[in-house]
Amino acid sequence: MDVSTAVFYLIALITVGSAAMVAFSRNIIYSAFSLLGTFMGVAGIYIFLGADFVAAVQVLIYVGGILVLILFAVMLTHRITDVQVTNRSAGTIPALIVVSVLAYLLIDSALETPWVKAKQLVYEATAAKIGDLFLYTYLLPFELASLVLLAAMIGAVVLSRKEIKE
């Protein structure tokens, strides 16, 4: 087993283990912090797939933005003193049954399907290619994305402001 395979196994283990912590931890602070391991692990998987730009975007937006937002929301909505069982679960047994059947089906179909593979795998910098695609083929969705982000920003401000009652 060479080094890259070992690193791949390590990253996969970190990703899946942290995701399991998110799903099963009884403390919401632990859940929020193990989300960090999942996001960084997914960024490592993107690098294995030759997607350097997407990996950088993942680190910037997920780790730098969404995770900080989630931590802020946790801190703003919980008293830090009572973090013992802040992350209640309900209906665990039926959910486990549904989820394990789904996992079996998904993994089985991923292993059994004869996937058509590309002739050779390319590993090159993708930022220029992605920029070209954004400005030619995907120009309309790209512009719509800015509109969606503006709407989300205004919506978040309107929803979370304190109502001043006269």
């Binding site: 395979t5 919401i28 937002l69 703003l76 992350n87 996992a103 590309a118 969705p141």
Partner: protein, 103 residues
């Protein structure tokens, strides 16, 4: 299972998806439900980038992954703002407590 095999990435994506679905199904805390949604979106992104890398070889899948990341950021901002508004109104973010349609 090896880094040069499509199915290993699909398996990681499938495991992340079922863990996220389990989180969404069982948690009673609204922020935890949002964390589960983030896990599901990440698993979809892994599949996009993996198929783009092993299948066509062009960057279309990566474009879709970036759009998904953008929408996840918008969803997280609006979702957490809604959670904060629910907390101001009900003083809890248990999703079973917030079941009335009016104040």
């Amino acid at each position: 299972m090896s880094p040069n095999d499509l199915s290993s990435y699909l398996i990681i994506g499938a495991i992340l998806f079922v863990l996220g679905l389990f989180t969404v199904l069982t948690r009673r805390n609204a922020i935890s439900v949002l964390m589960g949604v983030e896990l599901i979106l990440n698993s979809a992104n892994i599949n996009y980038v993996a198929f783009s890398h092993f299948g066509s070889g062009n960057a279309d899948g990566q474009i879709y992954a970036i759009f998904v990341i953008m929408l996840a950021a918008a969803e997280a901002a609006v979702g957490l703002a809604i959670v904060l508004a629910i907390f101001q109104l009900f003083h809890t973010i248990d999703v079973e407590a917030a079941e009335t349609l009016r104040e």
